[in-house]
Structure formats: C-alpha cells, structure tokens
Subunit: 498 residues, 2 copies
C-alpha cells in the first residue's frame, strides 16, 4: 500500500511557502535551512497535511527558483528530523517525528463543580440563557402529561420537534419534511450515529485540518482513517482546489465540514466554496457531513448576506447530511441535537438506534420544540449573540494587551479564537495554564498527526475582569514556558487565587 | 483457529437430553432420530450453545446407554441438516444451518404515534407513573436556575444525582461513593460506554443465551465475539458449572448478566449463583457487567429475602461493573441510566465520554435526583409493581385461554414472559402478528446464532380487555402460521380493528 494519501504540486507548495520560499522575514542562514524550516512549519501548523507527497526535487527547485542542491539538502534535513519520508520510486512525503506529541484525546469538559477558581476556557460553552430555559421547561411541563401516557420511546424523536426543525430548514431555504429529521443526543450523538452507519470498518474520512477535537477523536475511536485537508491561514478557510484534489484522490467515505464559524478557526465558507465542496463530494461518492452547530452564532452583519446552508447546494439530496445542536445556540445542558438527511438515511439511522442510545429524553424535546415554535429560540439567540460580541471584544483586547506576540484573526461569528502562541508550544502553554488556573485546549487536539503544536484555542466565553484575568494567567503560563522554568518545582496550585 | 468455543461433557449432554435421550414423550421412531431431534431442539432453543464441541461418540453412547452406531447415525443426520460440523482430530461441534433465520437486529421500538390500533408488545415499557413524573419535573424546575448558571456539561453527571445513587447502593448493602457513579444515556448508553472501553477490537463477550436483544446487537456492532452460555429451562436460570466452564475456557473480556428478573426469561439468580459467577469471572480475568435494569420490579414476596446485589460478591471491587436505569423502574422517556464501578474505571469512562455523547441532560438528572431523595421513586414503584402484578395475571390468563399449547413459566418479577410457541416459528408468529395488529419480539432476537426460533417474548404491560385482545390476535396469528396460509394473500391490515 502506498504511504502517502495526497499530493501537493510544486506551484501549490511554492504558494504555501510564500514569497521568501519559507524563510521568515529578516531570517539569515543557508537557503536549504529556510526551505526545510518553511516546510516543517507548514506541517506543524497543519497547512500541509501529513502523508502528502511532495513534488520531485527538480520541479520544486524550478518553482522556487533555487538550485536542485538546495532542495535536496532541505529534504535530507527534513528526513533526518523525521518530517519527511522517502522511498525509491515513490518519492517523498510529509511525516511527523515519532516522539512528537500527538493530539491524544478529545476535549474532556471540566465538570463545573470542579472548577473552583479555574477559568475554564477548555469548553466553548456558556451558561443557559435565562429566563428562556426556565420558560421552555415550564411550557414543557404543560405538554408533559400527554407524552407521559406513552411508553416514552421515540427513536426518531418527538413528532412536534421533528416538524419544528423541518420548518426551520424550510425557512432557511432548504425544503425539509419531518421524515428527514432525527433527534439525537447532541451533535456528537448525531455524528456518532452517522459514523457507525458509514464507517463500519476503517474507511477514510476527510476532515478539515484543524477541525473540532472531539469529533476527530470520535472518528479515530471508530477506526476511521483520517485524511486531513489543510485550512488556509487565518480566516481564509477552505481551499477548494485542495478539497477537489483530496476527495478525488482519496475517495473518502465521509467528509466532515464545519462551514459556519468553523471550530476552532472561526472561518465562514462562502457560497462558492460550499457549492464546490458539495460538487466535489458528489463526484467522489463521498457523503458530506455539514456540522451546523455554530450556524446561529453570526455576530457581525454580513454585507452580502449570509451564505446558504450547505444542504442547499445538494440538489440530489443524497450527498449532504446536516448536523445541528442546541448546545451552542442555546445550552449544552440540554443534550439535544439532530440530523437532517434523506428520508431513507433517517430510517436507517433510526433503526440502528435501537442498539445505541434508543432515544432522546422527552422533556428536553418538548422544551426545544417550544423554543423553536414560540419564539424563545430567536429571543434567546439575540441575547446570546450580544453577550458573545461583548466577550469577543474583551478577550481580544485582553490577549492583545497581555500577549502582543500571540497572533489570531477575529472571526465574524462562532465562539472561538485560534491563536498562534508566538513560537511557544501550545501543549506546554495549556499544561502550565492548567496549573495557573486557566484551562485552554492545545492546538494538537484539533489536528491530525501532531499538527498545530504552535496553537491554542481560546473561546470568547468570558468578559470583563474574568477575561483580563484569563489573559493574565495565560501570559504567566507563556512566560514560564518561554523561560523553560517549568518542571518539578512548580506546585499544582490547588487553591490558586490571583 | 479452532472452530468450537465451548465443550459439553457426555454426562451434561445426557442430562440436557433428559430421561428419554431427547425423544419427545410418546414419540416413536428409530433411536438415532430421537437423539438427533433432541440435540437439534437443544440448539434451536439455545440450551446447547452453537459451536459447542460434543463428546466423542463412544463417550456419549455410554452416557446415554445406546449403541455407538445410534450416536454415529444421529451425528451423521445432524451434519446433513447443518446442525453439526466435524473435522478429523477436532471432533464435532454444534452449528446452525446457513439458510436459517438469524437474529438479525435489535428491538426497534414502534414510535407511539405510529401505534394506531396496534397493540405494541414489542417493547417492555409502560406509560409514565403520574403524578410522579410531573412532580419530579416541577421540583427540577425549582433547582434549575442554579444549574443554568453553569455551562451545563457534566460528563460524570450532576453531583446530587451521583450522591443519591451512591446512597441507594450503600443502603442495598454495597457501600458506594459518588466517585463510583457515572450518569449515562439509559442503560444502553452505560453498556455502550463499557463496551467501547473493554472491547475495542473483537474481544470475546460471554452472554446468557437468551439475553436482552438490543444489548446483544450492541455487542455485535462493536465487533465483539459473542460466547453464549445457555440458561436452564423455564425459570431455572444460570447453570453455574456451565458458567465456570465457559469463562474458564474462553476467558472472555466481558460477561453480561441480568441476574435480576432476567430479560427475556424473568429468572432470578440466587445468592449462590451470584457468588459463583463473580468468582468464576474473577478467576478468568473477566469483567462482569451486572445489568440491574429490572431490579426494582420484584412482584412477589421472596420467602428467603431478596438476593444481594451482584456487586456485593465482588470483594476486590474490580470484577463487577453494575448498570442501572430509570427506564423500567420509572419511565423510558427519561433516558437516564448509570454505571457503578471502581473509581478508576469511572474516571476512564468519563474521559472517554468527551468523544461519545458528552453528558446527560441536566433537567432529567435533577428530576431523578429528586425522585430518589424525596421518596417519589419508591412511591411510584409501589404503584408500578401493583400495575405489573395485575397485567401479569391478565396476560397469563389470556394466553392460557387462547393459546393453551403455548408454554411459559410465570416469573416473580420483571416485565416479560418467555413463551414457547408450541412448535411454531416465533419469527413467523411475530411477522403475522404485526399484520394482525399485535407486535411481539421473536425468540431469535434474544439468541446468538439462530437459537430460539420456537419462542416469542410477551411483556405483561397491558391488562384487561387489551390483554385479551392481544392474546386473541396472537392466537389468530398462530392459527395462520400453523395452517401455512400465510403469504401474498394476506393484506397488511393498516386500519385493522377487532
């Protein structure tokens, strides 16, 4: 079996390396080292996937206007460091050194009661929007007696909620019948059910690089072979030619895409990219999971209007499966998510549910149905968005003040900043931050095979003095990591207060 | 690799075949045929597992006091029918013919709204116990505002519910700390989480034969290799020597046992068997899952007192993992279950949850915590048990009147009758019953590899005229199946009323 899963052309690599062929501005030293460093950085930041075959030395030398010796020496240096592997006749492909920290696990939420004085930015979650949560359950209590007369098992979900969600999709321009909706245990339950159905044994799954950590881990646990497609720098997002290339070459069974305020980068795909990705998926026989968990969290006015839902570009109706959730739009404590798909896919998912979680809680479904049909959802969202705008401004200002060397783009929606930690290891920053009373998720959790060591994800879910304190603690962690003074001497600050 | 997974001794097989060596009472015909029929019946009813190596012909002849030719001819006949496979040097082992209906899928609950006039005995579920459900959610609403101020992600469960459940185990004689409890999405979510942790790739799992259909299917989907351990006839239940034998020989990673009002048979394991199964599991390094879903449903007074929880016999604390649920005790619409295990097992299960369902709904947990601590659980259970006693009497009487040739034992608790359909195919009865407006689960769903074709499961969840009507429809289905008059001529009775 070949050991590379995608290829990168000479022109494409030259563009990725930038005008200086990978050399940082003002950098001095031999040309081969600049090139080797540039390629290594692209791999570690996930912009060049792991197991991507590089162009031949001669081709790359021509594209970069350097000597072939420079390229050969750079490749040799990358091989020695474990960032490149080669085999006669197969060429050379990117790799990650064996000892390098891999993105081991998903994000394990810190239980609120264990929080103490820790500022928990590990999860991108907010408190519930009141009084809407209470009102929703008051209304659900009124509807409960009727549901209580049934045995309570609704494997596809309560009819009222399925209908309310179908109407919402129809309003958003994607005509939908209730038979196209299944209620799940959050978006994770939805992705899990789709994964069990389409990835029974080691199939390929294309994912954005970076992508949502817990879903990456869910796919890994299911035995999927992840094929990363690099996201562009900052908020530039999806590279259509890379998606066409990877889908065409790897023909993955599934592709998982967060086109609306991508987690962690915050990028938003425009209509053209949505259309292009759906077309590429259709052409390669790939089922495209569109995770719309963040879709309600548009924080800035969009001059040209919001892009259409990914499913709107799926004219046959059999390429896109949409996943939604109340967790980010409303509250994670509800655990209500859903799938929108073709009726026959829903039927299969519902049948398979008998030996998974059987169904979703009735009371929660009544509450969400009320929110959707009686206006509570929109009203709560208005407040939520205003809250997030404030938090975003506060977190951005605090980070810029305390950590001016950290770089990030400010997204127009969602809940997260994807932050370059100025050359520091994001894993070490997260590790030390945990001990200093601030929890953030390190970059590698969002990457495939060790990428993004130089990143952390910072959700803007706190504001005011808490945002300032979080940035101060992160700055303290960064200082310790930069100084290398981290080790046995640092006590775990169980009762840390600052 | 060897093709048999357990062995049966000559004496054990002779006992299973009974005094007449397998011949039905009053049966005439050659001795070899009686023996072949006896073995076939044992396989189809699951009392002899599939892939069990039979004793050598000479040994079995001696134990049955028949000629070796009789045994050889019986084996030859079983081989011809596909119920036995042999290989020189490996002996002969039981099998199921290829064309035989296998227990394909789990029990897919019929959504209540689709019920129409169908009497749904497919799921062993009851309507919610009111006013307790409403009261529990009223109380939960009072507690909600405090929880609403958190982000709502409690991967291990709400502290109040973990503590209430720990106290309950302690009261039942199994001292338990809250750190030993994780809240899950029903008992299925609990078994699924345990399965993902202990059966990552094709490990063996010992199961009762028969066992709960949906859990069998969950294990199959996870790639487990099921090793069935036959239950005794009627309510006689667990054969300790068979358990010791199978666990000792197959050393399965997990064993799954429903010791309290077993689903589907209704059997109840006594203390001696519980102690013996735990000891056997410890000896073979097997983790024993004790599913206590039915434990609250003791309907008859136990003269010698109730057996102790299975976990009470696990002195090291690392052999037994207990699974519980509100689904049968209270209402399936809640979707709250739990795991009780050693703290380190709980920690691992909680960490893994980040890439499964993340957590359980807060409101449901508040409701169950109130029920457990404020007496609602016990009060509702009293009513539930009284209701089930009445239903049990009605269903038993109706079946005996309408289907006197169907045989079953009346269990002292739980919700189900395990019914021998008088020589008819349980799958056909279920199929025709569905069209006649009564849904029951066929026997093979509860078995491994095609066993229990001659059974259906009938939950006693209806009473009075509904129970009578259900029995009448089942009798009509049985009549059609017996007459062989089932086929294209029978219209699907969409609006069937009788």
């Amino acid at each position: 079996m070949r050991e590379w899963t995608s290829t990168v052309g000479a022109g494409q690599l030259a563009r990725l390396l930038g005008p200086q062929g990978g050399a940082a501005a003002g950098r001095r030293g031999p040309a081969y080292r600049a090139l080797a460093d540039g390629i290594r950085t692209l791999v570690l930041e996930g912009r060049l996937p792991v197991a991507a075959r590089l162009p031949a030395e001669r081709e790359l030398a021509a594209a970069l206007a350097v000597s072939r010796t420079t390229v050969a020496t750079a490749f040799e240096s990358l091989r020695a460091d474990g960032f490149l592997r080669s085999r006669r006749g197969s060429g050379s492909w990117t790799a990650v050194p064996a000892g390098r920290a891999l993105p081991a696990r998903g994000l394990e939420p810190l239980p609120p009661e264990a929080g103490g004085t820790t500022i928990d930015l590990g999860c991108a979650q907010l408190a519930a929007p009141e009084p809407w949560l209470t009102r929703a359950f008051q209304a659900a209590l009124v509807a409960l007696p009727q549901a209580a007369r049934t045995h309570g098992d609704f494997p596809a979900g309560l009819p009222a909620l399925r209908a309310a969600l179908a109407d919402r999709y129809t309003e958003r321009g994607v005509p939908t019948m209730p038979e196209q909706i299944m209620i799940t245990t959050g978006a994770m339950g939805a992705v899990g059910a789709i994964c069990r159905m389409f990835v029974p044994g080691g199939e390929r799954v294309a994912v954005e690089q970076p992508s949502y950590a817990n879903v990456l881990q869910l796919f890994r646990e299911a035995g999927a072979r992840l094929v990363p497609v690099p996201m562009g720098e900052g908020l530039s997002g999806w590279d259509l030619s890379a998606w066409r290339h990877v889908l065409g070459e790897a023909s993955p069974r599934l592709a998982y895409v967060i086109a609306d305020f991508h987690n962690p980068t915050g990028a938003l795909a425009d209509d053209e990219r949505r259309r292009g990705m759906v077309a590429a998926a259709r052409a390669s026989g790939t089922v495209l999971i569109a995770d719309e968990t963040m879709t309600d969290l548009a924080l800035d006015a969009a001059p040209g209007g919001r892009p259409r839902p990914v499913a709107a570009f799926d004219h046959g109706g059999s390429t896109v499966i949409t996943v939604g959730s109340a967790s980010k739009s409303f509250w994670a404590g509800l655990r209500i998510g859903w799938v929108r798909a073709a009726p026959e896919v829903i039927r299969r998912l519902v049948a398979a549910r008998a030996y998974a979680d059987l169904g979703s809680p009735v009371m929660e479904q009544l509450a969400v149905a009320w929110l959707l049909t009686e206006g509570g959802w929109s009203a709560a969202l208005e407040e939520r968005r205003a809250e997030l705008r404030g938090h975003r401004a506060d977190v951005v200002a605090a980070l810029r003040e305390r950590l001016p060397e950290w770089e990030f783009a400010v997204p127009s929606g969602g809940m997260t900043l994807w932050v370059r930690t100025g050359g520091l290891s994001g894993s070490r920053v997260a590790e030390v931050g945990e001990r200093l009373g601030v929890r953030v998720a390190s970059g590698p959790r969002f990457g495939v095979e060790g990428a993004f060591e130089g990143y952390v994800r910072v959700p803007f879910i706190v504001g005011g003095p808490v945002a300032e304190e979080a940035a101060a603690r992160l700055a303290a962690a960064a200082g310790l990591v930069a100084g290398g003074a981290v080790g046995a001497g640092l006590a775990t600050p169980a009762g840390y207060i600052s």
